[in-house]
Symmetry: D2
Subunit: 298 residues, 4 copies
């Protein structure tokens, strides 16, 4: 239980609601800032304005997935007011408290660094990234079906990268009946790909491998799908690039060659905000419980 | 090869193009009626107007998937002219020839019956229905992802009917990580469902089974998802009804209860027209070859 | 419940015990004939000798999986006495009763025919055959691993026949990572094989298909794996023939060519007698309940 | 190619033959020591006695999977002579050369350390361990079927450890239709287990999880399946312990409680020596090529 623990939420979107719900269930003291338009308020939850004094006895401060922008502004779909996380404001937070967010921009990193407050970036965690790979793969499947006139079943698909997202996507495509090749650079990855019943290749041979590809998916956050690669692909092929902006594809050249290439960021929040919220909420609650729960760690 | 065989196409959509291509490759004599706006014409193919004499030496006449409407009109996305298949016109077709279509309306059935011409309904065939179940399942997956805020993975899904479409859909949902129950009425179906690693139940127990369902799919062409069933479902559940119009769902009651219910006809042609065309084209070519090919049947 | 229903068991093996257990649970009156060495007797069960009068008020008589042999003898692993099912003995059974067995030999068929008593052959039923295909496939997997020096994963496997056993075996082999081809003769079977992600071919092309086969499995109860087929197989290949005796393989020629070929009858009873017993017991109990149960059919 | 590279093999079993074959194909100079009874000799290969001078121009020395025993003896199934790898003998090997083995005992480690010769232990490598997990899993499946009277399909299975072997085994059991739980200790492992459609739990909760287990598999090389755990298991359950000797099971207590528990070491070499040989041979050849091949690294 979180009895006596004070959790403050600053801004957010639908995903935050799952976390708030869980904190309430665990009997935490919950303060919401920037939720003035929230319709279904939770029992015993306090809606507050963005005022420094509010933070004075807060144990954890929970920011939205994107934390702040580069100027310190925090987004909230539940408020029309501008919310800025200033140094002044944050300096009221006790040094023993923790800030949780999805991913931090430089602004937030600097601020917490200066003030020596612990900052936890949830999307960095392997478990969160693996859970999120599930809605990401489903979103990718949806986009594929929307953007092709053939079925995934029976098509030649290539997945680049065999990390947290690539593993899941490759499995799902195989399960749907695609002939899946996966490009990676480590021998142990090639071994696992083979064991999974998929066809491994070294990413260095990519240009050779795409000659009959129908569906090319990239998860490697570097320029990988170069003009040279694209030049070898058939015209009807579709590229979906999942790597974080700006992706790993030479989009300019793809367009020139008439090959459809899509950058697809943020799929979990788009196709399955509820699941995405539950993922964050489960991990966050577990972390808060381990840190502040009465038992420490159960 | 189809050398010397005369194949006429009357109307159609993109799917027809695959069949035309294959007939041309096999050296058939090909006549197209109602394709005046067709851009990429095929080599050696004759575009003709709808005139009775055209049919006089035709061996097979290929109509669009839907054949004619109830008044005898044939649709063509490649022509603005109205195409009507009259008795007068059809009477010029030799008695030894065959007419192929997807599904025949009563108008066409009566006509061919009166004239004693063989009519082959391709969508009736088990093999075509099974091949088509693949794009149908992918279209269903796409609609599911579009219409929910949670992932298929981990959700409770129910498939009603374990025929050509139901088997495929159940397998695909399972492969995507849903917990899948399948409702059927034959003991041997329950056995196969169990063997596939899914959870079988007798359709007669449907009202009990839906209490925690997230996704309900119907493939049974009878009223199955009744008000009584819907009344037991959770509010966030989604119903997708694949059975041919009017489906097997009490849509009126679903709406009243605030449960989203979608009727989803014709998915193969919508989400994967190219694959759907290849399916028809493969089977059609095989049938024409068996009937008219030089070797009969290879 | 089976209160008041009199069920007699004549002979059998370990599989019978599951059925007896279930009948006792359902409160049937249970008589066991030929179980004199049975160690763990069930509460309220009567051990009897093979005497005509015993059958006089029996509602169902349950014989072992193999019924009788061609001379009328019934096997029992629980007795050293010879048990013969004579016409004299059986004539005491009421005409309204039913006899259940796995598979009947001609002797038993003639007898029941003459006496006009209903005979139910359980292994004939589709549901039983499908449930049994699971232990059959597992037994086949075990034999394969025992008889090869390479893994199933990555090997070229062929399954002949796409019936109740073939479907299951093909799926299991695919799941273990083999490259699976399935030979069948119906176009709708080829479609389903393709949908399952396996590679279909017409059985008529078998001789061509085996050139690089590592593992060949037959489920077709006709001579299919002929000398001509075997002549095309690589030497290291293994043939496992599951079809009922004498199988569908030219074993003489296989031996001559030095290709290991095994006939593998009765796998469920060998590798998973407990599961095999539960399968029979579940279906049998359901049938008895439908026939004699207080509610008829639930 | 390996033209001009001198590869010497000292002792070994059937698995070694695949490596020899590949080296010959790549045009290496191949010397075999301790293969005097080898029947099918390879073209251009030299059979030699164990004499120090032989090693003088050797580039790589390949030992059997187990290297030497603790006294320096090397096993060979192809020779009756005793082969001892002495310091005297090994000191003739050029300092630039490499020794490859599966796993090294302390004797061999000390020797190569003293002589400053590179020693490569192949079974340590992640890729080799993952490839080997495939025959290991198949051997485990075979042992399971042999040692139970029920099917894997439908049974409750638990896999302990989610490393190179555990991942593969868990997937295979799931593919065969078992209900699979996997115990691990890292949150990212629990996430991946969930994504794979299996049921994760923290290994610390093991004693609770085994209450209805039918099949318990251990891959963790520590005492994990303790008396406390075994005390909670049903009597009919089977334990297969794959962890290297002495395994992670309290075998004494299992026996006392009447629960069958098997230690199953070295499965790849037992159930699929050919595949095991190819695995070693592929990786070994790749390493030799990278080290000594004309191109270095392709
Ligand atoms: N679009 C969305 O909705 C969405 C959702 C989730 C993630 N993402 C994005 O997708 C990307 C991948 O995320 P992830 O969680 O899967 O990350 P990850 O686990 O780190 O995987 C990245 C993969 O890329 C490989 N890689 C990196 N640099 C490489 C190079 N130079 N050459 C070859 N391979 C290279 C890595 O291989 P090694 O293991 O050999 O290093 C690894 O397999 C990230 O950019 C992430 O932000 C997008
Ligand atoms: N939306 C689309 O894009 C799309 C695509 C393909 C098909 N469809 C439609 O989907 C429906 C199913 O097609 P299909 O090819 O799968 O047909 P199918 O193979 O005939 O399967 C129909 C299933 O419904 C069951 N069923 C029929 N009446 C029943 C009843 N009264 N109670 C319980 N079960 C009953 C059948 O069970 P038994 O085997 O016991 O008879 C069978 O399992 C059709 O209406 C078809 O037009 C739609
Ligand atoms: N060894 C064991 O432990 C074990 C266990 C179970 C069963 N069995 C035996 O295995 C065999 C198959 O059993 P099952 O339950 O799978 O039977 P099934 O469902 O009737 O399947 C038999 C298959 O063989 C095909 N077939 C029959 N004659 C053919 C022919 N002339 N050419 C091509 N295909 C042909 C059938 O095709 P169509 O559908 O086109 O007719 C069907 O796919 C039987 O002999 C059975 O006794 C053995
Ligand atoms: N019987 C055979 O034929 C055969 C074949 C192959 C391997 N093996 C043996 O099987 C064992 C596993 O091999 P592997 O290649 O899979 O090794 P691995 O990749 O290192 O996996 C070992 C697993 O054990 C877990 N683990 C280790 N200590 C633990 C602890 N104290 N508590 C909880 N989990 C713990 C590890 O978890 P973390 O990732 O959290 O550390 C890891 O998941 C070894 O002993 C190996 O020699 C036997």
């Amino acid at each position: 239980m979180l009895t006596g623990v004070h959790v403050a939420f600053l801004g957010g979107d639908a995903r935050q609601l799952e976390v708030i719900k869980k904190c309430v269930e665990m009997d935490a003291t919950v303060t919401l800032i920037g939720f003035d338009n929230l319709e279904s308020t939770f029992q015993g939850v306090h809606l507050k304005e963005l005022e420094p004094k509010i933070l004075e006895d807060v144990d954890c401060l929970i920011l939205p997935i994107v934390g702040t922008d580069e100027d310190g502004y925090v987004e909230s779909i539940f408020s029309k007011k501008k919310l800025k996380l200033t140094e002044e404001f944050l300096s009221h937070l006790p040094k023993t408290s923790k800030i949780y967010t999805g991913m931090a921009r430089q602004y937030l990193k600097n601020l917490t660094n200066d003030l020596q407050i612990d900052l936890v970036e949830l999307l960095d965690r392997d478990d969160v990234a693996i859970y999120n790979s599930i809605p990401t793969a489903e979103g990718t499947i949806m986009m594929t079906i929307q953007n092709t006139n053939f079925t995934i079943h029976g098509s030649n698909a290539i997945v680049l990268g065999f990390g947290r997202t690539g593993i899941t996507l490759a499995r799902v495509l195989g399960a749907l009946g695609a002939k899946v090749k996966v490009g990676a650079r480590r021998p142990e990855h090639l071994a696992r790909i083979y064991e999974m019943g998929l066809q491994p290749f070294y990413i260095s041979e990519l240009a050779e491998q795409v000659k009959d590809v129908d569906l090319l998916y990239n998860t490697i956050p570097h320029i990988i799908v170069t003009a040279k690669v694209i030049a070898n692909m058939p015209h009807h092929a579709l590229i979906i690039d999942l790597a974080s902006k700006p992706g790993g594809t030479d989009f300019r050249y793809a367009e020139k060659r008439g090959i459809k290439a899509l950058l697809a960021p943020g799929l979990p929040g788009i196709v399955a905000p509820k699941t995405a919220g539950i993922i964050i909420s489960n991990v966050l609650t577990k972390l808060i419980l381990e840190q502040f729960g009465d038992q420490g760690g159960n």
